[in-house]
């Protein structure tokens, strides 16, 4: 695979993610913070996001299994999770979180549960696309 082709593929994934609303301007802002001294900043932040938010997702899953449901805790975890999504520009995931918040407020367990499954789906979808994206960039960078 030649360098230009890999870079083009990566660029295509990136544009699609932005055009289709998976990512927003915050992602671009993170890219602007990258330079020769910190060439992997975006990937580092995204990786940190996925490792850190795994904990929040686990907490939410556990909270949804607890009886009675502690909606305050759920709302709190979700608030933290949503904040992190916002910080990396994960637009679609973040938007799904709004629905969850609304169900929490009216203490609608089913709504919370269903919405959370959707959130996890979007979260995983984005993760896979970003993994491919960074992998392509890495491979391109390794070619002279």
């Amino acid at each position: 695979m030649d360098k230009v082709r890999l870079q083009r593929e990566a660029a295509f994934i990136r544009s699609s993610l932005l055009d289709q609303g998976y990512l927003d301007e915050q992602f671009i802002q993170l890219e602007e913070l990258q330079d020769n001294d910190n060439p992997n900043f975006v990937e580092e932040v995204v990786t940190l996001f996925y490792t850190d938010s795994a904990r929040l997702i686990y907490n939410i899953d556990q909270a949804l299994l607890s009886n009675p449901t502690d909606f305050t805790k759920l709302d709190d975890y979700m608030h933290q999770f949503k904040g992190s999504c916002s910080s990396i520009g994960a637009k679609k995931v973040k938007n799904e979180c709004n629905g969850f918040g609304e169900y929490c407020e009216v203490q609608n367990y089913d709504g919370c549960f269903r919405t959370f499954q959707q959130i996890k789906q979007e979260y995983i979808t984005l993760k896979k696309k970003l993994e491919t994206y960074f992998q392509l960039l890495k491979e391109a960078a390794q070619i002279k």
């Binding site: 802002q29 993170l30 913070l33 932040v45 608030h79 933290q80 904040g83 992190s84 916002s86 910080s87």
Partner: protein, 212 residues
Amino acid sequence: MAGGEVLRQNLPEKLEESPSGANELHVLAVDDSLVDRKVIERLLKISSCKVTVVESGTRALQYLGLDGDKKSSIGFDSVKVNLIMTDYSMPGMTGYDLLKKIKESSVFREIPVVIMSSENILTRIDRCLEEGAEDFLLKPVKLSDVRRLKDFIMRGEVKEGEKRCCKRSRSEDCSPSSMTHPCDSSLLSSLSSSSVLSPLSPSTLSSKKSRL
């Protein structure tokens, strides 16, 4: 003499000397989110600021020496912070609580405190501004926010230096031909048309609200 050189010579010692010799703003950032700490740290470093990042209000107070532990009076000299940026929603001590503690301190109350929040709640913003917050930033914080803040803080530092500079130069330079003063740079003239960040007044508060 270029305006920039005059200003640099007269900047008060409050700005720390970085290894390269340039005067640097020291910012204390407080946020319980790991991701946000990483991002704010980078935003500040890329804006040439010295950064200390902590994960809670409690840690921030410890760093400043305001945590109630018996410390000697060297508290202020040992830690020089030009700006504090804190998240609002944090477990235990909120950004608002931290703001109050800082404004209650005779040593640190002059340090500008900026609140960051993912939620655009007017009552929250009002509360913070009334308690003495310099500004309220909506998350995610952008590079332009940091640059604007830095300019504001630097201008504040320059204002102090300018007073001394003008007194000194005016007494030296009495020639009628020199109509422009070394301090009359565009940087200082922009002080009169300063943006949102000016001493708190009712009109400023409403302009901050409308900007948000």
